[in-house]
């Protein structure tokens, strides 16, 4: 049971990671990070529900709740930044943002 949930969480996390690396649209990249959060939330709840030792507890759920709060904050700021960037650059291509480049 635990293994199934953990594996599912890992798959979601890795898919999110791959998406983050591969996709060039900034919004999709942020969606991918949200997907990685989903994988982690599932993992957290699963570990709380089916602990390797001791009785099940609600701690996993509480952590997941905090994670949702963090995800919400991150989404708010990230989207604000995306809006700002789009306003200045008229593009959402991550590869077009190369201001740090020094050549």
């Amino acid at each position: 049971m635990l293994g199934a949930y953990v594996l599912l969480g890992a798959v979601l996390f890795v898919l999110g990671l791959v998406g983050f690396v591969v996709r060039r649209n900034l919004i999709i990249m942020f969606l991918c990070t949200e997907m990685m959060f989903q994988g982690i939330i599932i993992n957290l709840v699963a570990f709380g529900r089916y602990p390797l030792a001791g009785a099940p507890s609600f701690d996993g759920q509480v952590f997941a709740l905090f994670l949702i709060a963090v995800a919400a904050s991150e989404a708010a700021l990230a989207l604000a930044l995306v809006v700002l960037l789009f306003r200045h650059r008229r593009t959402l291509d991550a590869n077009a943002l190369t201001l740090l480049r020094d050549e």
Binding site: L12, I27, I41, L77, V83
Partner: protein, 228 residues
């Protein structure tokens, strides 16, 4: 077991590579088939490993939906669809949470994510919407390396996971309290009260920050101001 796992994951990785935007249409189709095959195989392996498990069918269903949605999120060339598939992913995840007796969390997830965050995403996507598909949506960045990395990562996790000692076959006892909302709330406001306050502060800061950043100002590029 490990060999089978490797084959499944490799299949999935190749499928994903083909399905990512930027390939030929036929390759995309083939990739989607490969992905489906690998997802099913993976679940079969999981279920086979945990054979006597009451909720297995429900889990498998939800997991299939979630995986499908997740793959579509990262492979769909149009951001709006990606966002919508993400809603689907949230719903499937919520269902799984319900299965784990986390009803409150499931509700919160749907409300916060599908209700609030995703709507914001869609707004932003609409804001930046262009008439025709853009190059950065239909071209991927280093898809081969990305898929290879994902494969290796997942492979190392899965192998470790399957090699681990099998946990007790008997399903664990149910959670003590029936009303999970009360339990979670009690826990939040006693043990984790400080953390909760901090989370509130964080949300506030994010709120202020987001407003400050996105406020419309005269067009001055802060990154360029440092240069003379």
């Amino acid at each position: 077991m490990a060999g089978l796992l490797t084959i499944i994951l490799a299949l999935g990785a190749v499928g994903l590579f083909l399905a990512l935007p930027g390939g030929q249409a036929r390759a995309v189709r083939a990739g989607q088939i490969g992905l489906a095959a690998s997802g099913v195989g993976l679940l079969a392996a999981t279920l086979g490993w945990l054979f006597p498990w009451p909720g297995a069918n429900f889990f498998a269903g939800c997991a299939l939906v979630a995986l499908f949605a997740a793959v579509r999120v990262i492979t769909h060339p149009r951001p709006v669809y990606s966002a919508l598939y993400f809603v689907l992913l949230i719903l499937a995840a919520a269902a799984l949470l319900v299965q784990m007796q986390a009803e409150f969390l499931a509700a919160a997830l749907v409300i916060v994510y599908a209700g609030a965050i995703l709507v914001t995403y869609v707004f932003v996507i609409m804001l930046a919407q262009q008439a025709r598909p853009l190059v950065h949506d239909i071209r991927s960045h280093e898809p081969l390396l990305g898929c290879l990395a994902g494969f290796l990562l997942l492979w190392s996790i899965a192998v470790r996971l399957f090699a681990a000692p099998v946990p007790p076959a008997v399903p664990a006892a149910d959670l003590p309290a029936a009303g999970t909302v009360a339990a979670v709330g009690t826990s939040l406001l006693t043990t984790y009260v400080i953390a909760m306050q901090l989370a509130g502060l964080l949300l506030l800061a994010a709120l202020v920050g987001a407003i400050a950043i996105a406020r419309r100002r005269p067009l001055r590029d802060p990154l360029l101001e440092g240069e003379e």
